[in-house]
């Protein structure tokens, strides 16, 4: 393991730090608690128009004609927009641009955007939308991924190089998995299925655009990727990027659901340009379900080989990924579905063959734990089966196969800090595993699982050599420090994180740091809030910028006091002469001295990942500067009469490197775990046989309420990463993964059934119990 503390060898956390590691207020919490915080739909501009969308009623159809004349004639309507006015294709991954703001020639799912209207109010816009006449030529819809795999025609996307319905195929092999089968003491081979589910941020998508009198377009949008939206808007609207400003107001949750450029962002921008008026579009909850980009449904086949003492010798996976109608992040999803499984256990041999297909359903994308939650479920259940078969304790088998720290995975990913064993220890102890696992009455069980996740990757989406994260700091004569960051605070607290790190580094209080974020006119570029990259990358950039500034300030004070800069220390806003602790000055006085010496004060900092990844095509996808590790133990109660699973309690320990603010880290661990639990027992994003969403509302698509959520006990393991900001790693996505298999494994402990198809609805439980009974009778 790395040194426990690189900021003073052997020093425990909390001793050398004045801000980091302590409970702190969030910079924006009071604004949120009082209703003062401005979210996108809270923006009201003078003369603002409201826009509504016309959506496809067909899963797959060619647009023959669109007649907008009646809509245009409706009093109060200012503009009607159709696809041919915005024909340039886009997509968050530059290699797969297959979306248009509005359908140009075809619609590809029920809910696909066809036309839009801007009017004096929403009611008028909606009335006008209903007057638009569209003639469709209906095409065969492909809804089943197995069918998509073998059905090249009709191609859902017709103008790609390959004329079929395969979105992406990745086949990578490390070592020789097949050679292990003959030697193995145990071979487990099973099929697993993960149904689709969706983010359900409580804030629906919303965007407001205004064309300024200076000819510059401003877009306020509920997005987690301001920079990519900026690039996409400029390209699709054919504007010089310097004429476009994208601002992310306060954001009401995202979880990956706001990390693509979305139709409404282009539409309000174009409508603002057409009408000369500000235009807002707020999607209804129903529309958010169509926008989706949620968890991909996956059909997964896994074969694990192991020795008699439980050492894994090979893992072979074949995955079929249902992508829905567009590419979105699909290229990355396909890689992640295999690349991120190679820890926290050592795989000597590994192969995965992943295929993402197009179907006529709402497009899937990145949901918290992008691409790796589904395989993690399958593998951790399979590993439990291996342990069960060999009679090894499920925690013990995970310990035996531990990958280690400062090592390399079979697929060439560099591992630095790794606190997985401590995570296992923590949940084992907290849950009373040794006394209780396998020993509780029928119907009650404990299950364990582990996982790992990235802290950002070195793949910057569009190839460039510029920093992945940038920070600018301005120092004011009042004593205030303003930090400018392109980072997107989506509720995870990244603005607070930036304030803590700058305050720690400068020796001032977080309340004296103001953070200006996610405004492309004002802030240096950050690539966005995805892949759990913000704390690691923006945090390192913030420390870089603040450290340069601290040097200027301490040198100026040292010169004034005629002492050495090393003798000048700033702590909580007071500058102290270490040789003469009675000699002090305020941060404000120090800033004045520094400004006299260095002219106007300011500083920049940036971060770029080192070169990482395996030396093969796709080897850098999933290559992260640091990986987080998690262990979960779940306790469930299974009612054999009703088939209902109740997740009573989940113990989770997460290796977050250093907990920069433990309160926020605990919130990320708990929120992830809760979301995972919902995916097991409640949530399913499904279409009927016509491709129609089964229930696009929060009543029908059930997420856990305060009554459904398990009792969650979070623990933090601080492995102190050598490259993380003060040793920190990610905490926002990793702790979702192993929740799901831990619950699945607990169900096995409770009633002896192996459920391999999510979600675990009561009907599946009852069926498995019924199938189990005759088998037991035969054995008896």
């Amino acid at each position: 393991m790395a040194a426990r503390d690189q900021h003073g060898p052997g020093a425990p956390w909390g001793k050398d730090f004045h801000v980091v590691g302590h409970a702190q207020r969030k910079v924006d919490a009071m604004a949120k608690a009082t209703g003062e915080a401005v979210y996108t739909d809270d923006i009201q501009l003078p003369g603002m128009l409201h826009a509504k969308m016309l959506r496809s009623p067909h899963a797959h159809a060619r647009i023959v004609s669109i007649d907008t004349s009646k809509a245009e004639a409706l009093p109060g309507v200012h503009a009607v927009l159709v696809g041919s006015e915005l024909p340039i294709k886009y997509g968050v991954i530059p290699w797969t641009p297959d979306e248009t703001a509005l359908a140009v020639d075809k619609v590809r799912f029920i809910g696909d955007e066809v036309a839009a209207v801007a009017a004096v109010d929403e009611d008028t816009a909606q009335a006008a939308v209903e007057l638009i006449e569209v003639e469709y030529e209906i095409l065969d819809a492909i809804l089943d991924p197995e069918q998509a795999l073998v059905t090249p025609e009709p191609a859902i996307h017709e103008d790609r190089k390959r004329r079929d319905n395969i979105s992406k195929h990745v086949d990578l092999s490390f070592g020789d998995v097949d050679a292990q089968v003959a030697e193995a003491a145990v071979v487990i081979e099973e099929d697993y299925e993960f149904s689709s589910n969706t983010h359900t941020a409580i804030e629906p998508h919303c965007a407001v655009a205004q064309l300024g009198a200076d000819g510059r377009l401003t877009l306020w949008s509920a997005t987690q990727i301001t920079h990519y939206v900026h690039r996409a808007i400029a390209r699709v609207l054919e504007l010089h990027p310097a004429r476009v400003r994208v601002v992310q107001p306060c954001l009401g949750g995202a979880f990956g659901g706001k990390s693509d450029p979305f139709s409404l962002e282009f539409v309000v921008s174009k409508l603002a340009m057409k009408t000369g008026r500000p235009v807002k579009m707020l999607w209804t909850r129903e529309e958010v379900f169509y926008a989706h980009r949620g968890r991909h449904a996956m059909k997964m086949h896994y074969r694990t080989t192991a020795t008699a003492n439980g050492m894994i010798t090979g893992v072979d996976a074949k995955l079929l990924i249902d992508g829905g109608s567009y590419s979105s992040f699909g290229l990355v999803t396909t890689y992640y579905s295999g690349q991120l499984l190679t820890g926290p256990y050592d795989f000597p041999n590994y192969r995965f063959d992943s295929t993402r297909v197009f179907t006529n359903k709402p497009p899937c994308g990145p949901k918290r734990g992008h691409g790796s939650v589904q395989p993690r479920f399958a593998f951790e259940v399979q590993l439990d089966e291996v342990a069960h078969r060999l009679g090894i304790d499920p925690i013990e088998i995970r310990r035996r196969n531990f990958l280690g720290d400062h090592t390399t995975t079979v697929n060439g990913q560099r591992i630095t800090s790794n606190g997985f064993l401590e995570c296992l220890d923590a949940v084992e102890k907290a849950s009373g595993w040794k006394e209780r696992h396998g020993k509780m009455p029928f119907g009650r069980g404990l299950g364990v699982a582990g996982s790992m996740y990235i802290s950002g990757t070195n793949y910057p989406i569009y190839p460039n050599k510029m920093p992945q994260a940038g920070i600018q700091i301005k120092v004011d004569r009042s004593g205030l420090v303003t930090v400018f960051t392109g980072g997107n605070d989506i509720g995870q607290g990244s603005n607070s994180m930036v304030a803590y790190l700058v305050a720690e580094e400068l020796g001032i209080r977080p309340r004296d740091v103001r953070v200006v974020a996610a405004d492309t006119d004002l802030c240096p570029v950050d690539l966005g809030a995805y892949s759990s990259r913000v704390t690691f990358m923006v945090g390192n950039a913030a420390i870089d910028a603040a450290r340069k500034l601290r040097k200027q300030i301490t040198e100026s004070v040292a010169s004034h006091w005629a002492t050495a800069p090393s003798e000048v220390r700033m702590i909580n806003g007071v500058v102290i002469d270490l040789q003469d602790p009675d000699r002090t000055m305020s941060q404000r006085e120090a800033f004045h001295l520094a400004e006299e010496a260095h002219d106007t004060l300011g500083s920049t900092g940036s971060y770029n990942t080192p070169t990482l990844g395996g030396d093969y095509r796709g080897g850098s996808i999933g290559a992260s500067p640091a990986y987080s590790f998690t262990a979960h133990i779940a306790e469930v109660e299974v009612d054999p009469e009703t088939g209902r699973i109740t997740v009573d309690k989940v113990w989770v320990a997460h290796d977050c490197g250093r907990a920069l603010n433990p309160t926020i880290v605990a919130g990320q661990i708990e929120g992830s775990t809760y979301m995972g639990a919902g995916e097991v027992v409640l949530e399913e994003h499904t279409m009927n046989r016509f491709g129609l969403h089964q229930g696009p509302s929060l009543l029908d698509y059930r997420i856990p309420t305060s009554l459904d959520t398990p009792d969650i006990e979070a623990h933090m393991v601080e492995s102190i990463d050598p490259e993380g900001p003060y040793g920190a790693k990610e905490a926002g996505e990793g702790p979702l993964h192993s929740t799901i298999p831990a619950i699945a494994n607990a169900v096995h402990d409770a009633v002896g059934i192996r459920l391999r198809t999510l979600p675990f609805h009561p009907s599946k439980v009852l069926r498995a119990l019924a199938e189990q009974k005759p088998a037991q009778e035969v054995q008896a």
């Binding site: 924006d28 608690a33 979210y39 909850r285 989506i490 509720g491 433990p662 919130g667 929120g671």
Partner: protein, 195 residues
């Protein structure tokens, strides 16, 4: 269009709006009280919760015409009410939500905080189960509710003059700090946001 006479956060207001508009639309788009949020517009999420004569009510399903003569409290009204009653800073519920980390994206929290206010005014020392029941109409997607429950319990503990309950991770950290430097006082976060 119709003129509604409403009592919002203590202010008597005449507001003109289309007859079919919900209270939520009137609050947000006529009165500029955007603290009440729209998450679903059909009574499923609870983000629009306001207090009507002290009872948590979904503003997206409430028609303004039925509310004349009633006392409507939105999230914007909490701090002024607290200060009017002689309190400092924000309402203790708002403060506890911040101290416990219950405010992540913040979108559901105006409704959650108002539901909590109503709970604690009826039942100042609720059990965990009573808290879960009282907040079951307010969906939160960020927190998993844990830190929200802790915030409600923190207010109850402080009102009762008890030592506040602490989550397992916080107890573990305090023990570790105490072991490392026994003389150090437990850290108390400072009050208030930005300077």
């Amino acid at each position: 269009m119709r003129v509604f006479r409403l009592q919002v956060n203590g202010d008597p207001l005449d507001v003109a709006a289309p007859e079919h508009w919900s209270l939520l639309e009137v609050l947000r788009y006529r009165l500029g009280l955007t603290g009440s949020k729209q998450g679903c517009d059909k009574g499923d999420c609870g983000a629009c919760t306001v207090l009507i004569d002290g009872t948590p009510t979904l503003a997206c399903l409430a028609l303004p015409a039925t509310l004349e003569g009633k006392d409507i409290t939105t999230i914007e009204g909490l701090r002024p009410l607290h200060q009017k009653a002689g309190g400092q800073g924000v309402d203790p519920v708002q403060d506890a939500f911040d101290r416990c980390g219950a405010l992540q994206c913040g979108f559901c929290q105006p409704g959650m905080i108002l539901s909590t206010k109503a709970l604690l005014s009826d039942n100042p020392d609720p059990s965990r189960r009573e808290i879960q029941d009282a907040l079951a109409g307010n969906l939160c997607r960020c927190t998993g509710y844990t830190q929200i429950f802790q915030a409600v319990e923190l207010v109850a503990d402080e009102v009762a003059g008890r030592e506040p309950r602490k989550p397992a991770w916080a107890q573990a950290r305090e023990q570790e700090i105490a072991a490392a430097s026994p003389k150090e006082e437990p850290f108390q976060p400072e009050h208030g946001g930005q300077a």
